[in-house]
Subunit: 135 residues, 2 copies
Amino acid sequence: MLSRTAEYAVRAAIVLARHYGERLVSTDEIAAIVGAPRNYLSKTLNTLTRRGILVSVRGPGGGYALAMAPTELSIADVTDVFDDARIEGGRCLLADRPCDRKHPCGAHQRWMEITLAARESLVNTAISSLTGTQP
Amino acid sequence: MLSRTAEYAVRAAIVLARHYGERLVSTDEIAAIVGAPRNYLSKTLNTLTRRGILVSVRGPGGGYALAMAPTELSIADVTDVFDDARIEGGRCLLADRPCDRKHPCGAHQRWMEITLAARESLVNTAISSLTGTQP
DNA sequence: CGAAATCATCATATGGACATGCGCAATTCA
DNA sequence: TGAATTGCGCATGTCCATATGATGATTTCG
């Protein structure tokens, strides 16, 4: 359902949500908790930082923190950075002709419902609802 | 959302659904319609045949057909053959401890809801509802 | 029968996700 | 100021989904 990288990212966000407003968490610590390779996760966290989802602080005592409240960050915000989220425009599930809203193929409507339903959950769920410690 | 192979398979199933009870469709014809490499699709169709989802007939005039009515075949039946559908048992989204129904982590319940919701659509939708030609 | 059509299968690329290792850059603190 | 800690970034390696090409096996039909 999610790429491994995106899953690492979501887990990391959950860890950071648990310490939000409290302290920074280092790559090593996050990597140990989420079970990701240290250097690989580093690149992932770096990407999230450049996208404005995390903030980073270098030097001793440094680490990462969420750039916003965990209630304001959806799962989709995190996963979209890694898993391409664009709903295929123009190309169609049936692929025997171009297909869009104006000229939908027989499958178009139904298929959109399915993919959007799956995505809806990710959009509507905040990271805070996955921490298990706060509402 | 789906692997490319699984999507080829779904598209092929839709094509075959349109000709169900009518005639066989060859690999070449399906490949042209769904936009898949001929030999690659061949292997995919072969797998579906071995799983009992399709039937194949060799020789001139041969090809593939659905092994059952398109109303009786769900999208999940097709995709599960290629995309591993097992809901991760034992391992947990948070990954900081083993996690199952008896000892769920904070994210367990919510995450299960999300993944199951996505899958539910695939299970409950029949191939026939994607053909655009019949109910 | 023999040629053509068609599915079945194997051997081998290739591209990208995933992973690892090494060194650089910035910051803190004694 | 210099040593330790931490994030940043590059170079490389590995593995698998995807793709390609060639060949075999089976059936139809003139």
